[in-house]
């Protein structure tokens, strides 16, 4: 191998060739004339992309997420490790824990929710500005986990607030949490929104109404000054 021929592809050349091929319509499948547009004329050779504004916003949102500093139980220890050195969730644009719900986009629910805490958690969730996302960390937020049979334990975070991502494990390893958060970012970037949550016994109560109607009905039940949680242990899963 001669020294004046290093084994490097010259990308400028590749790019130019690709663009030229598209502009002249010679490349296979290059039927659109975006590259011949007025925009191209206006911008000259400086690079630009075309996208929908919504899509752009979703991408931005997913790439910069502020977490709520919210610790409940054992899982929060692993969550702290995920924020800190070694795992460093910040690398993925989802690090900075915020102490106030008003500044946070994402709430990671790291632990067992019991009857006394559930209304408080709901209030914290309500205080977060829209759009907001929820990551349920650990088996406790899925079903109550090891404490499912407890007389005081809510059988999953979904009984209280909607959850976008469930991460199983007891506790999930930091790597699992990172994977879950990355999945959430992916979902956000794809514009998939959080589902509305209806408890199983409420579903029964509202029969088969449309989703919007259920939301209205549920909203009508809320007393503004007094957030009341009713637990029907027999009927929850």
């Amino acid at each position: 191998m001669s020294s004046d021929q290093p084994f490097v592809t010259d990308d400028t050349q590749v790019l130019t060739e690709t663009r030229d091929a598209r502009m002249t319509g010679e490349a296979p499948g290059a039927t659109d004339d975006r590259f011949n547009s007025k925009l191209r004329e206006a911008f000259g050779s400086s690079p630009f992309i075309l996208t929908k504004f919504d899509k752009f916003m979703n991408w931005v949102r997913g790439s910069s997420m502020f977490m709520l500093q919210f610790g409940i139980a054992c899982c929060s220890i692993e969550m702290m490790h995920t924020y800190a050195v070694k795992h460093d969730l910040d690398r993925f644009g989802a690090g900075v824990p915020r102490a106030s719900p008003r500044q946070a986009d994402v709430i990671i629910v790291p632990g067992t929710i019991v009857s006394k805490f559930a209304p408080r958690m709901k209030r914290v969730y309500d205080q977060m500005p829209e759009p907001k996302f929820v990551v349920g960390m650990g088996n406790c937020t899925i079903s109550g986990g090891p404490f499912q049979q407890g007389y005081n334990v809510i059988k999953g975070a979904e009984e209280v607030i909607p959850v976008d991502i469930h991460i199983p494990g007891c506790p999930p390893r930091p790597e699992a949490l990172i994977y879950g958060v990355a999945k959430l970012q992916e979902r956000i970037a794809n514009g998939e929104s959080a589902p509305v949550v209806v408890k199983p016994y409420e579903l029964e109560q509202f029969g088969d109404l449309d989703r919007d109607e259920i939301v209205d009905q549920l909203a009508a039940q809320i007393d503004e000054d007094d957030l009341v949680m009713r637990y029907n242990w027999a009927d929850s899963p």
């Binding site: 054992c74 408080r120 027999a234």
Partner: protein, 554 residues
Amino acid sequence: MSLEQPRDAAAVERTLGDELETLLGDRVLGREEHVNAPGFVIRPGDVQDVLFRLRDEAGFDHLSCVTAQEYEDRYESIYHLKKYADPTQEVSVVVPTDKENPVSQSAEPVYRTADWHEREAYDLVGIKYEGHPDLRRILLPETWQGHPLSLDYDQDRPQVVPLREHANPLHEDHADEQDADTMYINVGPHHPATHGVLHLKCILDGEQVVDVESDIGYLHRCEEQMAQQGTYRYQIMPYPDRWDYISAGLLNEWAYARAAEDLADIDVPEYAQVVRTMGAELCRIAAHMLAVGTFALDVYGDFTAIFMYAIRDREKAQNILEDLTGQRLMFNYFRLGGVVWDLPEPREEFFEKIRDFLDDLPEALEEYHDLITGNEILQARTIDTGVLPPDVAKSYGATGPVARGSGIDYDLRRDDPYGYYDELDWDVAVEDGCDNFARLLVRLREVEESAKIIDQCVDLLEDWPEDERTIQSNVPRTLRPDDDKEIYRAVESAKGELGIYIRADGTDKPARFKIRSPCFSNLQTLPEMSNGEYVPDLIASLGSLDIVLGEVDR
């Protein structure tokens, strides 16, 4: 462990019991023998009288735990008393109350720690205490229906939990005086400084704390019910990991292992004891690292250097523990009669890893001392704030670093030895500053002592002959301790004395399983330390108590 020792202990117990019986005279209705201590049955109206005598004349100055339970024909409260000077001297005061009207005299005037313990007994079992200053629910919401650990509780009934605004109970008292208005402020249950889901109801007069009341129960996960539903052999062991979840898993597992092994007369091979001791001390280091890191976080309020350093050292300890147990946090490594498996192969590599960690530790501690204890700002914030005098600490049943920071030389590893601790060479860290700084120093010094213990364990394990590495003794597949056998046993966990009371009923599940959590008692001292001080000192005091809500609420 030889068989002689327990027999001697039993003899000592009997003489102790006789002496006390003479002291108490005709207040004693009957005697019971618990595995750990003599028990005296007394009338519900004599509680204060008997406890005063035991405290002032026999020197039982430590109310370790109050267990409440319901039998088919009666309710019962048991006061487990100990001495700070010698925790092997124990006595149980058993107070039966009748089924229809379970009222018993409160022990609060004798031991202040009884305040919360009796509230818990009322909340979960339903015994009422006469003369209690403030008998309300403590763990469950105020609106809860029924007492969940009583026999006829219906777990399926619907419950309603409201969330209303809190009122300022002192507002009226202070409103008329000019310019002395009080303000009510909630700290938590979701607040970065509460280390979880603690709720502090604070009343402030300007910057000063007039009154602070801790509202707990936001993480009451029914640990006792869970344990009562599990079989002794395997099903209970995973739960202790989740009481004090700050990596103190093995220390907690030891509490259950010790109580259940003594209850069912199981021997533990010496080799397993050394492995347990080593693992437990690694856990203690990890737990104290987090305590120090979050304390610095509370005092400095930044999420940077010290916290990250502490996490870095924890990661190292966790890696070793993961090699040993297979898990980072919830180890489930102990079994009754030993541990689940031997050290990982290749052993040399594992030992080298531990040695590396221990070699780096002095330098790391040096760093902590430079950053934290040597820092003037931190000293100004912590020295002489959150003062807890030793006699107050004792009356609240404080143990662990909180007691040792107040000059109380009390460590169950030395005073009531278990495992391999009495064969090893180490010291108990005691500081007599009684303030936030002293508690911090105790933790940092304990890390050094733990490192010493681990080092000696590694030496022992390295030279252990290959054919004597028994990791578990023979334990029957199903354990059925004798009917009505009762035991209360404690170990020194990262936060203090972690005790467990078990009553067997002849089946393979405990009839009553009560957890005495060190944090529960330690947290009770918070108003003593903060009333009259500034708000930031309240936060520092709370940080220096190093509570973990999983253990406070259980």
